[in-house]
Symmetry: C2
Subunit: 457 residues, 2 copies
């Protein structure tokens, strides 16, 4: 402990937030509504409830209510793994020899290994409350599927996970965690859905895609009595649930009189970044404070830094609603990248609007430099970070080194979303020096943009 600020700041359990903060309530320019892919009309409660739970649809559509009470059942579950620590990176500061003060909010200290559990438990709760039998979802790398399995196990809900076939076969460990929590895990495409059967007939040897897995999960949800579909990112309801990250961070910093100058988060669909920055962005929107907010994305999948702000499909199967967002086009296929959670073609509508309004910045970073930062961080801070989280580490280190040059004592806060225990093939590629850094050309991107739907809004 130096200057009375401990290495790890743990709030007391009675300091866990009891309300989620809805950043949309303070936005002047609201995020654009979801559109029905058939009619191109904004979707309302009745349009969305066949797919999502009723309470979650209400949260999705509500852009004015500033706070939502967190139900007691969810607060109980939080005790299992929250409050999460806010860590002062003394070891990293020393290694960098920087005058900057670096803090990170660590969301990886739970068995799902990431922040995804914050929204999984909320979505499972509302499904249970509605009297449903179960939920369906898709998973790629498996963090979301694992989190949802844990949440469903807690509420005794059935959990059907469609896992992209190549991940199912090549990454059996997360699959087994999900099974240990009682989920049924089906490799996608499968013969349990029409979408899957058609895909298998057309491409018998396919190893699957996230787009197809989404379509299968949605098909099962809407065609099975007592089931709904749930999603781990992109949606505004998810950012609402994830605001617990930012609220806890702010409470912990306030306790020690600290105020961040820079807030940094990795961004795939936006669930982590949106949650981390929520209360700070609220202050910024209300003119009460200013913060430099930086979204970090992979150079191989640069939706904010090189994408277009337009209506697009949320899934590659084009069955889901259209969302207005920074996107590379639902047909864009990013090159192989080990940060599976950041390989999404679009970005949360909320964050897209905030970015478009100049309220936050974005940077893209190359994979090898991300793993260089990850290794450095692991060695000095003792936590092996997820590849996704390491994008934020990379930019936090960059900013701290700038402070070293200028002598500025800035306070940096970043989100450490999870651990990399299930990503060791990625670390192996880095250790072996076989990691690639392919960046899409303008031509690559144009192909994705060519597939954008024609929407005049």
């Amino acid at each position: 402990m130096k200057n009375n600020i401990p290495y790890k700041i743990y709030l007391n359990e009675n300091e866990i937030p009891t309300k989620w903060y809805n950043v949309r309530s303070d936005m002047k320019n609201k995020p654009a509504p979801l559109l029905n892919p058939a009619t191109l009309e904004p979707m309302g409660f009745e349009d969305l409830r066949p797919v999502f739970c009723d309470d979650l649809v209400k949260q999705e559509l509500d852009d004015t209510t500033p706070y939502f009470d967190i139900p007691d059942e969810i607060l109980d579950f939080y005790k299992m793994y929250r409050p999460s620590p806010l860590i002062r990176a003394y070891f990293l500061e020393k290694a960098l020899d920087t005058p900057a003060k670096i803090y990170y909010k660590f969301e990886g200290n739970n068995t799902s290994g990431s922040h995804k559990l914050n929204s999984a438990i909320a979505q499972a709760y509302y499904a249970k409350k509605q009297g449903l039998k179960g939920v369906t979802t898709e998973t790629g790398a498996g963090q979301w599927g694992t989190a949802l399995s844990m949440a469903c196990s807690y509420f005794d809900l059935d959990c059907k996970v469609y896992m992209v076939k190549c991940s199912y076969e090549q990454k059996p460990f997360r699959r087994e965690v999900m099974r240990t929590y009682g989920a049924s895990v089906t490799p996608s495409p499968s013969d349990t859905t029409n979408v899957g059967k058609a895909m298998l007939e057309k491409f018998p040897d396919t190893t699957g895609s996230l787009g197809c897995a989404i379509s299968e999960a949605v098909e099962v949800a809407v065609s099975t009595e007592g089931y709904r579909y749930v999603l781990g990112s992109v949606l505004s309801q998810v950012l609402l649930h994830q605001s617990v990250i930012g609220l806890e961070s702010k409470t912990a910093l306030d306790k020690y009189g600290e105020k961040p100058d820079i807030i940094i988060g990795c961004a795939g669909g936006g669930s982590n970044l949106g949650g981390l920055v929520a209360p700070f962005m609220g202050e910024k929107l209300r003119g009460e404070a200013d913060y430099q907010i930086i979204a970090v994305e992979p150079a191989s999948c640069p939706s904010l830094t090189r994408g277009k702000y337009a209506y697009d499909f949320c899934d590659t199967g084009m069955v889901c609603p259209l969302a207005k967002m920074y996107t590379l086009g639902s047909g864009f296929i990013p090159s192989a990248n080990h940060a599976g959670g950041l390989r999404y073609h679009g970005m949360s509508s909320v964050l897209s609007q905030l970015y478009d309004d100049g309220l936050m910045e974005a940077r893209s970073v190359e994979q090898t430099s991300v793993f260089e930062a990850a290794q450095k961080f692991a060695r000095v801070e003792g936590i092996l970070p997820a590849p996704e989280s390491s994008h934020a580490i990379k930019v936090a280190i960059d900013e701290a080194l700038k402070c070293k040059e200028t002598g500025e004592e800035k306070t940096i806060l970043f989100g450490l979303t999870g651990t990399g225990y299930f990503d060791m093939y990625a670390y192996q590629a880095y250790n072996d020096g076989t990691m690639s850094d392919y960046i899409p050309t303008d031509e690559d991107l144009q192909k994705g943009f060519d597939g954008l739907p024609k929407v005049d809004k």
Copy 2:
């Protein structure tokens, strides 16, 4: 939080113990000394220092000093991952509907994934202090190797790990964590040592053994300028370092006026159990309090429950000192068991003596029942436990269910040594129903006993 006892008790950083407790100082019957395998004479400082660091040899031989100051450099490193939480298992208590109060000390919240880091950092520190260039060790499942890699990285020491070849090939993930921390990991047997070369010549297709890996690591340590060998369990110095687990647990319980009736730990070589019970055993030895202390071991490797108390080799290669311990014989090969850390033929001399003196009990449990307990625990407490740790969970649940029958409100403390993220093949076997429960016959055991050295002490 119920009755003002939170779910997770985190000590403040200034409450981390500053001294290790040496339980031998309070033992009337001291553990028997290590013997030179050639002369069968007790080994002294000069005998042991070619293999181990000087300060560690002193700790190994000292059975009278009650407390050792923890050096500042180690206390600094502790801030990375200590204090570890003492968790009140409210969720488990509710699921079992038991009047028992259950606590567990969770040592898995660090990247090495187990309590092994507590001794790794101490051993690395003394190696650095002595001006050594590096250390060598062996690893099977990889928890010790991972912990040592992290510790060596922190002190900028070279770390050479000999990893049993079949683990090296079949469990690449821990290998990559070690490499990420800068360790060199060599599959054993290798052509880098005489022992390894001889083994490869004799058995070109061997997949290796822990015994051979130990022999290689020792050979490199004693034949390379500036290197020493380090070991993660069994030795009395390791139990000394691990006393930090018990000391923190006791401080946390004392804070809330709680006193355990039963203390439970899994036991392989004894590092975790010896550390967890240390201060409680001290009170028991001094007649200040009484505790029921239970060591839990796999039925497939029952050194305490079915072994002999005799001098034996610590390694299967028979190059290390002889230790008096409960043992199945260094030639005993336990059946395939997923708790790699509990597959050791012997038991710490300290714990063996305490057990022989009736100061603690031992129970053996079958693998499938252990995973049943592990799965239950994972689902209600939200932590996926290591197979080793789950042995303690199994007996804690058994004891809590006994309380349910009798109505007794006993307080149970157990050690949750680590997480099972790198053990998913084991969980898969359980999920698939293909796990075996082979228990050695008396004939199997007799073969091990037949190989015990003839020592008249």
